[in-house]
């Protein structure tokens, strides 16, 4: 948040303007609108994971599980209770948050790899539970989302769904962004940077960790709700382990500790995956390549790219022009060019 304040251009605002305007060009093309919708949904999921990883200093390889929890809640609520959209979204977030809370409780004792294994187990278990809890989830066949309307608008058609997802996802991103700028956010980061120092200052480290876990799951649950509307069908196969890894990659590619970075990472990887799907079977390899490339070029993720590039440029310019040497060289080149002409 400190960095964003310093940067010149209001990138988020520009991105939002672009997101609002661009269906004017592609609104008729449902395939493109569908990918754009997916970008936004995954951006919320990736940002929620970034809240946990980049700000909370913890790891989750099971965020697809929270996504599934949100999506199933959305379907169950829509089918059985016929709630309007807004309470349905909140329900999806709250159910996921409750699960996140329970999963976060052991974080006081579990660190590093053990936490990874716990979340990984959770992510793998959720589709299995969904498969076997047929009474609630309809097992293998899954649950079809009933047609939803919001203020008379049909949410199953594009670009209506896109705009609805845009509004919700942007609200979520802004909410996360303002959260990390508050006292709570500072405490998350303090715990991330040094648990011992935070503890010595009277911070209840365990409570902070559980809090960040719960909040992360809440937003991921909301992404799950949106996903249910986007796919129209909630089935166990929609939440494979790969999906958790994809969110993880988005956070790394976008940059840990940058909400807007996660949006960038999500858009990039969703578009790559979409384009690569036509190559056949290579999309995972290409995404893996993108992660490696990012780590090589900008280890702090795409969010750090403007900083890295401007730093490199400045260094190049400084090398060109320390006093007279650079200028002489430039003049020599100019003279040579003139002679040639």
């Amino acid at each position: 948040m400190i960095r964003a304040r310093r940067r010149g251009l209001p990138w988020p605002l520009l991105a939002f303007g672009f997101a609002v305007a661009f269906p004017a060009a592609y609104g008729g093309n449902t395939a493109i609108m569908s990918v754009a919708t997916q970008c936004l949904i995954y951006a919320v999921a990736a940002a929620s994971l970034n809240l946990l990883m980049g700000y909370g200093g913890q790891v989750s390889l099971g965020h697809a599980g929270f996504l599934a929890a949100g999506a199933y809640t959305a379907a169950v609520v829509a089918i059985h209770f016929r709630l309007p959209l807004v309470p349905e979204i909140l329900a999806a977030g709250l159910v996921a948050a409750a699960i996140g809370f329970v999963l976060g409780l052991p974080t006081g004792r579990l660190h590093g790899l053990y936490l990874v294994i716990l979340t990984l187990g959770f992510g793998v278990a959720v589709p299995q539970i969904a498969l076997n809890w047929t009474g609630l989830t309809n097992g293998w066949a899954g649950l079809a989302m009933p047609p939803t309307t919001l203020w008379g608008l049909d949410l199953t058609s594009q670009p209506t769904l896109y705009y609805c997802v845009l509004a919700v996802s942007w609200l979520c991103l802004l909410a996360m962004l303002s959260l990390v700028a508050t006292r709570s956010g500072r405490i998350f980061m303090a715990v991330r940077d040094s648990e011992a120092a935070a503890m010595a200052m009277g911070v209840n480290v365990w409570r902070a960790k559980v809090k960040v876990f719960t909040t992360s799951a809440f937003f991921c649950g909301i992404a799950g709700d949106l996903l249910a509307h986007w796919t129209g069908l909630v089935a166990p196969t929609s939440f494979p382990f790969d999906l958790s890894l994809l969110f993880f990659s988005m956070v790394i590619v976008g940059g840990m500790g940058s909400i807007w970075g996660s949006l960038t990472g999500a858009v990039l990887l969703v578009v790559i995956a979409d384009q690569a799907a036509s190559v056949g079977g290579l999309s995972t390899a290409i995404i893996g390549g993108a992660v490696v490339l990012t780590l090589l070029v900008a280890p702090e993720g795409l969010a750090s790219l403007p900083r890295v590039v401007s730093w490199r440029l400045r260094r190049m310019l400084e090398r060109e022009a320390p006093g007279e040497i650079g200028r002489f060289r430039n003049r020599d080149q100019r003279v040579r060019k003139e002679r040639r002409a």
């Binding site: 303090a190 940077d193 040094s194 120092a197 503890m199 010595a200 200052m201 009277g202 911070v203 209840n204």
Partner: protein, 233 residues
Amino acid sequence: MLRLEGITCAYGPVAAVRDLDLEARERAIVCVLGANGAGKSTTLKAIAGLVAPLSGRIWLAGRDITPLPPPQRVALGIALCPEGRRIFPEFTVEENLRIGGHIASREEVAQGIARAVALFPRLGERIRQSAATLSGGEQQMLAIARSLMSRPKLLLLDEPSLGLAPIVMRQIFDRIRAIRKEGATVVLVEQNANLALRIADYAYVLANGRVAIEGSAKMVAASGVVERSYLGA
């Protein structure tokens, strides 16, 4: 003010501190000296509650605080300034101080920042700067100022001279004296024994987790025990 009775701490099978007794009177500067691995930092961590002792009791102002978790100890007036400073690099100086005043009220935080700036004017000049851009000495000042934000009655300083130039060290130690003057009791863990003994009232020298010698700082300084225990003889 502070009393440790028979404290034993271990990491796994290795005992770091064995049956340690330590006392700090009100408004005293007590220094804990010793070689690497003598158990100095562990002692401080036990007082702050970051390490749970296997046995023994810790008393603060007549109250048994042994079972209390770290946040409650902070509320009772214990503040630890950890080894290696552990400032939060992405935060500004001011945000670091605010985190230090985690348990304090809004007015107390404002007063605390004012006090920190009065104590370390350099921090005032850099109040909006990111903490990562501070020099080592300034980071140490920030770490100390941050631990003072909770208005501690007992300040635990772990190796404040670590990695600092001699002139900066002396500045910091001069400020530690000023902190005591404001009414705090200070327990100071140091490798730089000469410097610590110069400002301390009372000293403990640890070796292998036990007290090798204790006494007034003057006496310990004169005895030459420090050198011997450092060399392990």
